[in-house]
């Protein structure tokens, strides 16, 4: 067989591999993500009408969206929606809830401690680590410079 360089092969691979449908993916992400945000806004108004102050109403919206997302994951529907929605379901708080519930379900076969307990953060762990680190750094800046 003739020798072929990695660069040459890389070009052949690129030509042979179908591209992801970026425009369609973006449009669906926009529509699904927008829909989730609209649901959040509707819930927020609803909670306000029920007598909650705006900060409390917003907190209740987060809790509601997490509950809905976790329930859809448990029913096995979330991944079927996310398959089409992509970043539309990944970016909002719903994605975070799904990233915790799905490993919890998956790894319960290894027991509650080393399975569910340890693996629950397998997907969302990095988000927590770097999210918390970033907030500490931000807090230090605010503290030192009194911004």
């Amino acid at each position: 067989m003739k020798t072929i360089t990695k660069q040459q092969y890389g070009r052949q691979v690129q030509a042979a591999s179908p591209d992801s449908p970026v425009v369609k993916d973006c449009l669906l992400a926009f529509l699904f993500g927008g829909f989730i945000c609209t649901v959040g806004q509707v819930l927020c108004r609803m909670y306000q009408n029920l007598g909650l102050e705006l900060p409390d109403a917003r907190m209740a919206v987060s809790v509601s969206l997490i509950l809905i997302s976790a329930s859809l994951t448990a029913l096995g529907w979330y991944d079927n929606i996310a398959k089409h929605a992509g970043a539309g379901t990944l970016v909002p708080i719903t994605g975070f809830a799904n990233s915790m519930v799905s490993p919890a379900m998956e790894f319960k076969s290894e027991g509650f401690i080393i399975g569910l307990g340890a693996k629950m953060f397998a997907v969302s762990g990095p988000v927590l680590v770097f999210g918390i680190t970033a907030s500490v750094v931000y807090g230090l800046i605010v503290f030192l410079f009194g911004l």
Partner: protein, 334 residues
């Protein structure tokens, strides 16, 4: 058994197929090859509490069918060569435990069916075993949780991604059967810098091209000499690349080639993107479709070239590229 050329082994008293079993899951049972499966399971848990146990049972069932067709019991088998995708090949060890057949575990990723078949053929030809079994399996759910993300995690698959088959295939080799294992080629590891685990076809195509070209050169044959050359599982992207690579060397495989990953599912209808993959894909296509067609003499001279991507989650996370392998087995029927 003798060596011909640079890498081919020719069997002097070709071992033959005494019986074969192909079992699959629900999706495989809905695919174009559904009629060739001995058994399919609509409940892919097979009634077990873990996917690993379900996969082990698939392998157990495939061996049971193969032994039944061969008309022998586990006691009559001298050696079993088995492997799968899971860490330390637990589907094989747990699935085959009850048979108490002398066991040699194998790892060849998705090339395992060709690897175990070659090992079994060499054992029978060398007289180390009168009857030997080759078996492998894969399960979509156990593979996903080991190699990718949890099943219910909302991720998107790329168009180049392949779908791990929930299936198993087993072959009993010995003397007196119709289908012969005539020659084989043990593949060399090839790596051309592919790092995308969602494009395994691209990672394995160079190994497939190299092994097939080597086999043709060693045996002085051309693609047209075979009724079919089956690769497994290059999928859509890997198949295109295999054609590119062999064409660059003046060999056109198109007229006689088919890929197990493209045969097992209806790619568009069953939403499997670039096609099927996993040890069970080429194993079940071989033990179901290919052997049946050979028994009916629709196919008489076939090359079975199973391909494997030899990476692990660790090598992947450490940014290493994906090495590929392809073993070739020539099967004939008089």
């Amino acid at each position: 058994m003798k060596r011909i050329g640079r890498g081919t082994v020719e069997f002097t008293a070709p071992p033959t197929v005494l019986g074969a079993g192909a079992v699959g899951g629900k999706k495989e049972g809905q695919g174009p090859l559904s009629a060739y499966f001995d058994q399919t399971f609509d409940d892919v848990s097979l009634g077990y509490t873990s996917w690993e146990k379900a996969e082990a049972q698939l392998q157990n069932e495939a061996v049971a069918v193969a032994l039944d067709k061969a008309g022998c019991t586990a006691d009559g088998v001298d050696m079993i060569f088995a492997g799968d995708l899971l860490n330390q090949c637990i589907s094989s060890t747990f699935g085959l435990l009850e048979y108490e057949i002398p066991f040699l575990g194998q790892y060849g990723a998705c090339s395992t069916m060709a690897q175990t078949l070659l090992m079994a053929a060499m054992a029978v030809d060398a007289g180390a075993a009168q009857r030997a079994v080759a078996v492998t399996s894969s399960h979509f759910c156990s593979a996903e949780r080991q190699f990718r993300t949890p099943l219910e995690y909302g991720a998107q698959r790329t168009p180049t991604a392949q779908w791990t088959a929930t299936a198993a295939g087993a072959v009993v080799l010995g003397t007196g059967g119709k289908i012969r294992v005539r020659r084989g080629l043990v593949g060399r590891i090839r790596e051309l810098g592919i790092k995308d685990p969602s494009n395994m076809g691209a990672a394995m195509a160079p190994a497939a091209a190299q092994s097939i070209l080597q086999f043709l050169e060693d045996t002085g044959s051309r693609p047209e000499d075979f009724d079919r050359i089956f690769t497994g599982d290059l999928g859509l992207v890997g198949t295109r690349l295999l054609y590119d690579l062999t064409e660059d060397n003046g060999v056109d495989l198109r007229p006689v080639h088919n890929d197990c990953g493209l045969m097992l599912y209806d790619r568009e209808e069953q939403d499997v993107h670039a096609g099927g993959s996993g040890c069970g894909c080429s194993a079940s296509v071989l033990c179901g479709h290919i052997f049946t067609q050979m028994e009916q003499k629709v196919l008489r001279n076939v090359l079975f070239c199973a391909t494997g991507a030899l990476m692990s989650t660790t090598s992947q996370q450490q940014g290493e590229p994906i090495p590929g392998i392809c073993h070739v087995v020539q099967l004939t029927v008089e």
